[in-house]
């Protein structure tokens, strides 16, 4: 276990959780000697290098609470398991038929039986008490510092940042403009060391929001409002995955939570609220804008986008075409570095690795740099624009939609020409 400190970049830099790690690893050593069994496998599983959804590598207060509660339980379970196995092994070896006489037909010993009721009862009681405590602690919402609405739909997540009564977003006032709601999708951006409360619901079926390294999962149920607390002191990207089966593309419904230092979060906020800049006249991007308005803007909103022909603001009405009634807002697509339900990266593998593995200090800048021309992962993006349903299974074939009165679930095939795709990519590249 000792190598955990060495390898685990994020943990070793977080000073307050380090002591926990030390006593963990020391106990871990004891455990390793405790031998095989379930909990050993489990605890060891905690040390795999960089499994992004490792449930045993907490990176925030809430996940840490769970961790501190669960590893002793695993330990106990493992020890008990080993003892039971050993007992059984001894029995079957010691008492196999070696021609001994037929044993006494005893029907049991009362005191022994009661003893074996008492022991597990005591152990479980010892587990139960802290459990109740942690359950309550994880559900406390009074000290919330920032509320973000999370809405799941097939098969992506939408986040909208509320403007508080004081005209700030999570306590951050935009420096240039007056605060107005921000809508993003796929990647949730939160300030570090802030108690964030996700207020979640869903537009169609039940989804579940889960960032293993920040907190346990919480179902987001249509018609209901559920909460999930997120908090981290370590800038970085934390991976997650929808964990409530939500239909065809359940496997392709992912999410990532990006933690930024407060200065970086301020930057991100200002950037999000920047007024829309139309692409340069005659540029490829400008053609892209027209294509976008013609092909995409029925469902995808780009805030502040004006129709060059008549100067009206372009409003999308996804509810008229999409069954769930929403499509990702693309205003600042290229700031977040994933698309299509955080399933594919907008960054080429190298650039992605560069961002994901950067140290917490420089992470902020690298992330906010967004997606540049030469870092753009064109392969996936083009495939997506060419034929989305082929890349990600969705109910988007107009022929088979009588159950949803013609509305698609997911992005349909648009039949874009290669030129149009070039234009769109050029246009989208400027959305940051």
């Amino acid at each position: 276990m000792s190598h955990l400190k060495v390898h685990d970049r994020t943990m070793s830099t977080s000073n307050d959780s380090t002591p926990i790690l030390e006593n963990m690893s020391s106990r871990g050593r004891k455990l390793a000697t405790a031998g095989a069994g379930l909990s050993a496998a489990a605890l060891l599983a905690g040390c795999a290098t960089d499994a992004p959804q490792d449930t045993w590598k907490p990176a925030g207060a809430n996940a840490q609470k769970i961790q501190d509660l669960q590893w002793p339980v695993f330990l106990t379970a493992g020890v008990v398991g080993v003892i039971v196995m050993a007992f059984i092994a001894v029995t079957v070896v010691k008492y196999r038929d070696k021609g001994q006489p037929i044993p006494e037909q005893a029907h049991g010993k009362a005191w022994l039986e009661y003893l074996f009721i008492a022991i597990p009862a005591v152990i479980l009681a010892a587990i139960a008490i802290p459990t109740v405590g942690v359950v309550m602690a994880l559900n406390a919402t009074d000290d919330t510092e920032c509320v973000i609405n999370v809405t799941g739909q097939q098969w992506w997540w939408e986040y909208d940042y509320e403007v508080g009564a004081d005209g700030t977003i999570c306590g951050y006032a935009p420096s240039a403009v007056e605060a107005s709601p921000i809508i993003t999708s796929g990647q949730l951006v939160i300030p570090a060391n802030t108690k964030v409360l996700l207020r979640g619901t869903s537009r169609d079926v039940i989804h579940s929001y889960w960032i293993p390294r920040l907190n346990g999962k919480r179902d987001m149920v249509p018609g209901r409002v559920h909460f999930l607390r997120l908090e981290s002191d370590t800038p970085g990207i934390y991976a997650g995955q929808c964990t409530e089966f939500c239909g065809l593309s359940h496997a392709n419904m992912r999410m990532e939570t990006v933690v930024l230092e407060s200065a970086d979060f301020q930057k991100w906020l200002d950037n999000e609220l920047e007024p829309y800049q139309a692409p340069q006249e005659g540029s490829l991007a400008a053609e892209g804008e027209t294509t976008f308005i013609a092909q995409c803007s029925r469902c995808h909103q780009v805030n502040g986008l004006l129709d060059p022909n008549n100067g009206n603001i372009v409003v999308s009405y996804p509810d008229q075409f999409v069954y769930s009634g929403a499509a990702p807002n693309l205003t600042n697509l290229m700031v977040r570095n994933t698309f299509a339900g955080a399933t594919w990266d907008l960054l080429t593998p190298e650039c992605r690795a560069d961002v994901w593995e950067s140290s917490p200090e420089e992470f902020g800048d690298k992330y906010l740099a967004g997606v540049s021309q030469d870092c753009l992962n064109e392969i996936d993006l083009r495939e997506w624009l060419r034929n989305a349903p082929a890349k990600k299974p969705m109910y988007a074939d107009p022929a088979t939609l009588e159950q949803t009165d013609g509305k698609v679930r997911g992005m349909p095939y648009l039949g874009l020409s290669e030129d149009q795709i070039d234009q769109l990519i050029a246009y989208l590249l400027e959305r940051k």
């Binding site: 499994a51 669960q70 196999r96 459990t131 293993p212």
Partner: protein
């Protein structure tokens, strides 16, 4: 057949089954009842609990193979990243139908097979309380299962997961008819379980042999009774839920329409109030089997029999108070989460009691490692693992990290495969000679056992790791960039799990090979009492006569048969047991004092007809309401045909007629 005039030998029985030309006394019309005791007709219309038990077993094994193939396809798909064996759609149908098949069409009916065959034998009864309802139950289960699986050919199976959470189960999100087939199919099998439950409860409560008090009941029968009570109360709850689902999908009800303000958690509560007891419904019968086998091969009574009985009952009760631990992540308030978390831990206590008492049963015993014993010990070990991983997510907060990941998949496969399925295999090896009069080959059996154990641990063991590494369930693909590296990388262990599946499959295959090998021509008949067993079902021939016992045995001890064979010659507190009689002698004694005049109810074809009307109605709901009407009429008619039919066919129905019987008087 109706009457056996003593002295009776098999020949006479066979005689009566070969029909000759109708005679003046012969009955009339299509309403002459089937009376054959051999040939396929004797199976189609039988109401003999033993024949029905065997048919339950055969059909269950068939569905076991089906479900297994579905499982293998799933594992093939997940063997590597971005698997392409199945489309997303097919994959979703696959895991839905795999779970549904294994739970409702394999484990439950396989337990029902043993319950049907052995409960009457273990309590010294000649049949169950309601033989025709028993037959109906089997046919309803069979037709329901087939109906469910016809969905594959009519637009695809259900694709909402076996838990079928709303609103994902509504028409908009699951446009094919799969979910309709699922819901209606489960309704039909549910009817089967319900009737079966009532039947077996009445049987155990009312038809025990003289002297057999409830605390002298064989432990398997006890566990079966607990299970039947669970079914009796769990089935109506899921029935309500399934009706709502049907109304929602077929008649536009609004139960799960969120726009109308519906609460999707309603379905979850209804489903799990049924679904959690269901877990014990699956596992308790095999606990019973294990508790039968361990004493036999340790030559020692079950340690703490009363405690095991009570813990079984306790599990039955507490099992109703823990359903919401399947919903720790679905947003119940902290109070209820905490409460259910603690309740869930509490249920670990009676479960632990069983494990301990099993081990203490072996302790100080005289252990023979036959194949059934191997399987029994296998259950103890594998189930312990499953139980302990269960404790780790009775802790609600850590469950929010584990639920809906492969860690849970690992957990419940250790419980259901390690606990239930291994136990059922133990039962098959143990009772095979009793059911078919042939021993299953021991050497093949051992290979079979070890392959199964290795296979299941290879398959489900790695899933602990995969789960803790954060791979959710029900994903038709997993990708490299979430797999991680190093010893615990998800990719490697997924591959191992997939390989394990095939080892497991090989093991199961060997079982069928074993059946073939053991039943080839020339394999000698099984001895009367191959295991030196302890309970009543062995005080009769292998396989038992149609009327089970020539004389209904008088019961004085918990392990009656053992105490008839052995006697304690020890003096002043010191015990030594000596064999005083062989099984043959015991049986001979019984046959000598056989009851003078035994009569059993006659076969009937109303049960199969009534059962047949159910899938017709179900198709009607899906496709055409007139069909529903037709089915309903058929049901009504068979119901009344049933009601108007005397228990026993009139003497004229037997050619040659078998003398007179008081039965005739009761035609009324």
């Amino acid at each position: 057949m109706a009457i056996i005039e003593r002295p009776s030998d098999e020949v006479e029985v066979v005689d009566q089954s070969t029909p000759s030309e109708a005679t003046p006394e012969s009955s009339y019309g299509v309403f002459r009842r089937p009376v054959e005791t051999t040939g396929w007709k004797s199976w189609l219309f039988t109401i003999d609990h033993k024949k029905l038990g065997i048919m339950y077993g055969v059909v269950a094994m068939f569905f076991f193979v089906v479900g297994g193939i579905e499982a293998m396809l799933i594992r093939l798909q997940l063997a590597g990243p971005n698997g392409t064996v199945l489309s997303a759609d097919k994959y979703n149908q696959m895991f839905t139908m795999h779970a549904t098949t294994m739970v409702f069409l394999f484990v439950m009916p396989m337990a029902a097979a043993f319950a049907n065959y052995f409960v009457p034998l273990q309590i010294g009864a000649r049949d169950v309380a309601f033989p025709r309802i028993n037959a109906f139950g089997f046919w309803a289960f069979l037709f329901g299962g087939l109906f469910l699986n016809t969905s594959w050919f009519l637009g695809g199976g259900a694709d909402g997961g076996w838990f079928m959470y709303a609103p994902n189960s509504s028409v908009a999100f699951s446009p094919s008819n799969g979910v309709d087939f699922w819901g209606l199919g489960l309704q039909i099998t549910g009817i089967a379980s319900l009737t079966g439950a009532i039947n077996l409860i009445v049987t155990v409560i009312n038809m025990r042999a003289p002297g057999m008090s409830l605390m002298k009941l064989p432990i398997f029968t006890w566990m079966v009774m607990v299970v039947q009570f669970l079914l009796l109360f769990a089935m109506p709850v899921i029935t309500v839920a399934l009706f709502m689902l049907m109304f929602q999908r077929s008649f536009d009800a609004t139960f799960f329409t969120v726009e109308a303000g519906a609460d999707p958690l309603l379905w979850q509560h209804l489903f799990w109030i049924f679904g959690h007891p269901e877990v014990y419904i699956l596992v308790l019968p095999s606990f019973g089997i294990v508790s039968e086998i361990l004493p036999v091969f340790s030559k020692k009574p079950l340690f703490g029999y009363p405690l095991i009985v009570f813990s079984g009952a306790a599990i039955g009760f507490v099992g109703w108070g823990v359903w919401a631990h399947h919903m720790f992540a679905s947003g119940l308030g902290p109070i209820s989460v905490a409460a259910f978390s603690v309740a869930t831990m509490a249920i670990a206590i009676p479960t632990g009691v069983k494990i301990v008492n099993w081990t203490l049963t072996m302790w100080g015993g005289k252990i023979k490692f036959t194949v059934p014993m191997l399987y029994a010990v296998g259950v103890i070990i594998q189930f312990t693992i499953g139980g302990l991983s269960g404790v780790t997510h009775s802790v609600a907060p850590s469950d929010t990290q584990q639920t809906d990941t492969y860690y849970i998949v690992a957990h419940f496969h250790y419980v259901i495969f390690g606990g239930a399925v291994l136990g059922l295999f133990a039962g098959m090896y143990y009772w095979w000679p009793k059911m078919f009069g042939k021993m299953l080959n021991e050497r093949l059996g051992r290979v079979n056992f070890w392959l199964t154990i290795i296979g299941m641990n290879l398959t489900f063991g790695p899933m602990h790791i995969i789960g803790l590494q954060g791979q959710p369930r029900r994903m038709y693909q997993w990708t490299e960039n979430r797999a991680g590296e190093g010893f615990f990388n998800i990719g490697f262990w997924n591959l191992v799990a997939s390989i394990g599946t095939f080892v497991l499959a090989l093991g199961v295959l060997l079982f069928f090979v074993n059946i073939y090998v053991s039943h080839r021509k020339g394999t000698e008949k099984a001895p009367l009492d191959p295991w030196d067993a302890r309970s009543l079902e062995w005080i009769t021939t292998n396989p038992p006569k149609e009327h089970n016992f020539d004389r209904v045995p008088q019961v004085g001890h918990l392990d009656e048969f053992f105490h008839r064979k052995y006697e304690d010659r020890g003096a002043d507190g010191h015990h030594e047991f000596h064999q005083v009689a062989t099984a043959e002698e015991v049986l001979a004694e019984e046959e000598k004092n056989a009851d003078g005049h035994i009569h059993l109810p006659s076969p009937s074809y109303w049960p199969i007809l009534l059962a047949f009307s159910l899938p017709i109605m179900a198709y009607g709901v899906i496709y055409n309401l007139f069909l529903l009407l037709g089915g309903a009429v058929l049901a009504l008619v068979s119901f009344y045909g049933w009601g108007l039919e005397p228990h026993t066919a009139p003497e004229e129905d037997y050619d040659p007629p078998t003398g007179t019987s008081m039965e005739v008087a009761s035609h009324g």
